[in-house]
């Protein structure tokens, strides 16, 4: 109980320690390629004031959201199907292994070559990179569906929609949560690569630009700004949704 109450204090202490160590290191090394926390903060302020930071963060965030929705939708449908039908799973398994082991970079380069340097190719390439992970997570979920509830739905003649909404999807919720968590973090990293290779805006494009200028402070400014955006997504969107969808579990812990 006591350790729970001290959780935020310990986290704050951890961040302060990191900043102190970073400052000490920049003081000792004193090199242009290792900017101090203050220099990075100043770069963030400059980019913010010019409007560049918000514009590029927005462009990246939109790509992350689009790729995430596509990957989750297609990956979930395929995963649930594979978990429910062993023969389809056996057929699709080799494709899945191939996709899982194909480097993200190869998929991105091929997408740009085949479909051109456009937004659809960029988002599609990111989604294709993520789909196999979603498929595998949701396949395990579909395999672990409780037969007793399926029988209940059959006896009470649930429509397919009622079965999906009230019986199947709630059982898959932990698997959706796992796929979402790993998905968001993986997708935004791949989006940066896509932007670096073939887009003219976004955080990835800016990082590449400042890499050519050897401006490490601005590179870190964009990186930390986007991490901050993803933290907001985590705390303001993902965690509240998860809390809401697992209320019945919380009541279980209470009783």
């Amino acid at each position: 109980m006591q350790s729970n109450q001290r959780g935020p204090q310990i986290a704050a202490l951890s961040i302060v320690t990191l900043l102190v160590l970073w400052s000490a290191l920049t003081f000792l090394i004193s090199d242009k390629t290792l900017p101090s926390p203050m220099e990075v903060a100043s770069a963030i302020a400059t980019e913010w004031q010019s409007g560049e930071l918000l514009f590029h963060l927005g462009a990246t965030l939109l790509r992350v959201i689009a790729a995430f929705i596509i990957a989750m939708f297609i990956g979930s449908c395929i995963g649930i199907l594979l978990g429910m039908d062993a023969n389809v799973n056996r057929f699709v398994e080799p494709w899945l292994i191939l996709l899982l082991n194909l480097p993200a970079l190869v998929i991105i380069v091929l997408a740009y070559i085949w479909f051109g340097l456009n937004e659809a190719a960029a988002i599609g390439a990111v989604a294709i990179n993520k789909i196999p992970n979603v498929v595998i997570t949701l396949r395990e979920g579909a395999r672990s569906l409780d037969l007793a509830y399926a029988e209940l739905a059959r006896v009470y003649r649930f429509s397919w929609w009622k079965r999906l909404r009230h019986v199947v999807l709630p059982q898959l919720q932990p698997f959706f949560a796992a796929a979402t968590r790993s998905g968001v973090s993986l997708i935004w990293k791949i989006v940066l690569v896509v932007e670096l290779l073939g887009r003219s805006n976004g955080v990835g494009f800016q990082i590449y630009l400042y890499f050519q200028l050897f401006d490490v402070a601005t590179i870190l400014a964009y990186s930390f700004a986007f991490v901050a955006v993803m933290l907001l997504v985590e705390y303001l969107i993902l965690q509240p949704i998860e809390r809401r969808s697992t209320r019945w579990r919380a009541s279980n812990a209470r009783s």
Binding site: A148, Y149, E151, L152, R154, V155, Y156, R157, F158, K162, H166, V167, P170, Q173, R247, W248, R249, S251, N252, R254, S255
Partner: protein, 240 residues
């Protein structure tokens, strides 16, 4: 209401060995009667219920109950969806046309009013069983299947629930078929007791009870229990 004639139900294990669970099982249920099935453990009682519920179709024979008959079930475990409240669980079982029907009377009879917004994990086993019974009756089924609905409850709770079940059944008359290991339970609830043989299951004996459930005192119930025990002690060859 129900005409059942199962010639055979054979289960095949992974190693190819065969087990005949049911053989030449025949019985009929009259409308608005309460029938209990008793018999040795593992004789095929639950298998029979699963075939009636349409959960097992790999048998030889036929089960007739009218094409559009509404059937509901109370399983051995309450089988409530843990992510839905008590009321949501009951409403989910209803067809679209009845989704908004009033459940107050039924909940009142089953003592569920205070817990209608609770999740199943917040209920005792007894209350969860009541919710499962509410779900089964809310549908106003033509056939109600109950598979040992009071198993693993303490005697006091089981006794109370039997009385409640009887009250609800009399308020919402339907044809009920219940499997039980508890002969006293059968003696309290049933109009007819079907005594099943050892596996493969068939009807070894039938005990018909003329005294209405509400008029049965302890002595009458003791007498019925004795009759059922006598019916169970008959061997398969003797009953033929």
């Amino acid at each position: 209401m129900l005409d059942l004639n199962i010639v055979s139900r054979v289960f095949t294990a992974a190693d190819g060995s065969r087990l005949e669970a049911v053989k030449n099982l025949q019985f009929q249920l009259k409308p608005h009667t309460f029938t209990c099935i008793v018999g040795p453990s593992g004789c095929g009682k639950t298998s029979t219920l699963r075939m009636i519920l349409g959960l097992d179709t790999g048998f030889e024979g036929h089960i007739n109950m009218g094409a559009e008959a509404t059937v509901s079930a109370v399983f051995q475990e309450p089988r409530l969806l843990p992510w839905r409240t008590v009321e949501q669980n009951v409403r989910l079982a209803l067809p679209k046309s009845k989704t908004n029907m009033l459940l107050d009377d039924l909940f009142e009879q089953l003592g569920l009013i205070p817990v209608r917004s609770f999740y199943p994990s917040e209920l005792s086993l007894g209350l969860a069983r009541r919710a499962a019974i509410a779900r089964a009756f809310a549908l106003a089924p033509e056939l109600l299947i109950l598979d040992e609905p009071f198993v693993s409850l303490d005697d006091y709770t089981a006794e109370r629930l039997r009385k409640i079940l009887l009250d609800v059944w009399q308020a919402h008359p339907t044809t009920a078929l219940m499997v039980t290991h508890n002969i006293r339970e059968a003696a309290e609830l049933a109009d007819t007791v079907l005594v099943f043989s050892e596996r493969p299951a068939s009807v070894l004996n039938t005990v018909t009870i003329d005294v209405p459930q509400k008029l049965r005192d302890d002595e009458t119930i003791d007498n019925i229990v004795r009759q059922v025990r006598a019916a169970m002690s008959v061997t398969r060859t003797a009953s033929v």
